[in-house]
């Protein structure tokens, strides 16, 4: 078994600006409906939560090592469970990359503070040879 780790940091202001400038176009190209729902508060969309989820997607890409394979951001979904912890669900090309790499488990942690959101992803892999040629 081998481990892979990915980490990412996102400015909350840049996410706020993207929502303001591109609106639904931005949300639909990056986030799933469930993620948008998780990021919606009574006051509206929370850019800190969105930024944390974008960081989760990028941290996951660092774990998947896609090389020249296209992976839409919405195929990497960061979801909050009923008990408050966050986890990852993969679909499409992202799920295929994980399978090819022999990834058996993914763990995610996210945080936001001081205008930045960060995420760390750890993957356990059955082998370390899965997608080394990409």
């Amino acid at each position: 078994m081998a481990l892979r780790v990915g980490i990412d940091l996102v400015s909350v202001d840049t996410v706020r600006e993207s929502v303001s400038e591109h609106g639904e176009h931005y949300l639909a190209r990056v986030y799933t409906e469930r993620e948008v729902r998780d990021c919606t508060t009574p006051a509206g969309l929370d850019p800190e939560r969105l930024a944390a989820r974008f960081a989760a997607k990028e941290a996951t890409l660092k774990v998947l090592r896609p090389g020249d394979v296209g992976v839409p951001w919405f195929e990497i979904e960061a979801l909050r469970s009923a008990d408050g912890w966050v986890g990852l669900e993969l679909a499409g090309a992202a799920a295929k990359l994980a399978e090819e790499a022999g990834i058996t488990e993914l763990a995610l942690s996210i945080t936001h503070e001081g205008g930045f959101a960060s995420a760390a992803v750890v993957a356990s892999c059955a082998s370390e040879t899965g997608n080394q040629d990409r």
Partner: protein
């Protein structure tokens, strides 16, 4: 097309350098474009050229330089015309 791409990069890539100082093949990520900024560049390109990047083109190499973006746009325009 190159000048329009440069304009979109100027507006959306949040580069710490003047885009006019970059060659067409300069690596935009090396020049300071973040992954999140690349999303805004993609959205700006889609709005300006009335196209949608298909899933298989959502990868770093498509947005890594002005020349790479121009090549991708030409591919999309050829596909749309076919």
């Amino acid at each position: 097309m190159i000048e329009e791409i440069r304009s979109i990069i100027r507006d959306h890539a949040r580069l710490p350098v003047d885009v006019d100082t970059l060659a067409d093949d300069t690596d935009l990520y090396q020049a300071g474009m973040t992954s999140h900024a690349s999303v805004n560049v993609m959205l700006g390109l889609e709005d300006r050229f009335d196209i949608e990047f298909p899933d298989h083109m959502l990868k770093r190499s498509v947005f890594e330089s002005i020349a790479a973006i121009a090549a991708a746009l030409k591919d999309l325009q050829v596909s749309a015309a076919a």
